[in-house]
């Protein structure tokens, strides 16, 4: 059978690469939604476009900011955001780190990098007190673009998405419809929504419903 990677660190932590090493069919949390609800196409009239960035590596870091920041700098080449509710990215925008709480950050990397990221961080962190948790199967990322994106967000979240309240580089965990998600703004004209797997279908249906009047399209 196929190989898999597992290790117990010197600090007594089980590290486990949960990605198959062989070609195995994988389904994003929105697979059922595309099948069941469908995905309206993008047209000239679409004032909002959503696009799933499926199968990325999502890793939660817990620990002291100073300790983690140094390790992240070593491994990713950029540091943790220092201010609450902010987001740092590498120049390609492919890797990001977001403040979630005073001792918690969400790191998103290209799919497949999550295990080596964990391994390298653990190596850099030694026996400091921290936690690293792979949550890649538990969430997915949606991009939201278009001139009506802000208004669509206003229908959905009580958080202030006006540029005055939500400049580029900000990211928050907040209420969205009757659920919640992570909302971030990596670029002037692009929002990102990090959805929990089990709520993804509800949130997807919400977005399509609220976006109907903007002829919302799903880019796939």
């Amino acid at each position: 059978m196929s190989e898999h990677t597992s290790a117990t660190t010197a600090t007594g932590i089980n590290m486990y690469d949960v990605r198959p090493t062989t070609e195995v069919p994988a389904e994003s949390p929105l697979a059922w939604s595309y099948h069941h609800t469908g995905h309206p196409g993008v047209s000239q009239r679409s004032r909002v476009v959503i696009r799933e960035r499926a199968m990325l590596g999502h890793v939660v870091l817990r620990g002291g900011a100073i300790v983690l920041d140094e390790a992240v700098r070593q491994v990713l080449g950029f540091g943790l955001p220092a201010r609450p509710n902010t987001l740092n990215q590498d120049p390609s925008g492919e890797r990001s780190a977001q403040w979630l709480s005073p001792d918690e950050w969400l790191v998103i990397v290209p799919g497949g990098e999550e295990f080596s990221l964990e391994a390298k961080l653990r190596e850099a962190l030694g026996d400091a007190h921290y936690a690293i948790v792979n949550v890649s199967g538990g969430q997915t990322l949606l991009e939201l673009e278009g001139e009506a994106a802000t208004e669509l967000l206003m229908k959905s979240t009580p958080y202030d998405v006006h540029p005055a309240g939500f400049p580029v580089g900000k990211g928050v965990t907040t209420v969205f419809a009757k659920s919640n998600l992570i909302l971030r703004r990596p670029a002037e004209d692009r929002w990102e929504l990090v959805l929990r797997r089990s709520f993804a279908d509800y949130l997807y249906r919400w977005l399509l419903d609220a976006g109907q009047e903007y002829a919302i399209g799903v880019d796939d």
Binding site: P84, S101, P102, E104, P158, Y159, T173, T174, V175, N180
Partner: protein, 119 residues
């Protein structure tokens, strides 16, 4: 709907993001076995219900998931301050306008704490 300043997120957030967790500053007895049944009952079940200034614990449940304290006027619903766990309030029933400066510790004198004051 309240507008609550999370001392960890350092901004005002909607009440929907928070859960109230009852009276603040209830400390679990260090040696429960040394408590009489009555003392233990007091710790478990008895809470204040003041008219006016009250200290409550809240958690930023849909947010940073941190617990913190709120000094709130139960009549006007005005929130006078929010402060992290382990700290003491600046506004109390005894000092509704705020404790005098000489009674405050360093953390309490930081201006950032004022941001939590809701007008």
């Amino acid at each position: 709907m309240l507008h609550i300043y999370c001392p960890y997120c350092e901004e005002l957030r909607e009440e929907e993001e928070f859960h109230p967790k009852g009276q603040a500053h209830i400390t679990r007895p260090a040696d429960p076995d040394a408590c009489s049944d009555e003392e233990w009952g007091d710790y478990l079940f008895f809470r204040d219900n003041p008219r006016g200034i009250h200290h409550e614990m809240w958690v930023h449940a849909i947010g940073c998931r941190k617990f913190f304290n709120v000094t709130r006027n139960t009549v006007t619903y005005e929130i006078l301050e929010t402060y992290p766990m382990g700290e003491q309030p600046r506004f109390t029933a005894e000092y509704p306008e705020g404790k005098p400066a000489d009674q405050l510790n360093d953390a309490q004198q930081e201006p950032s704490r004022q941001e939590g004051v809701h007008v």
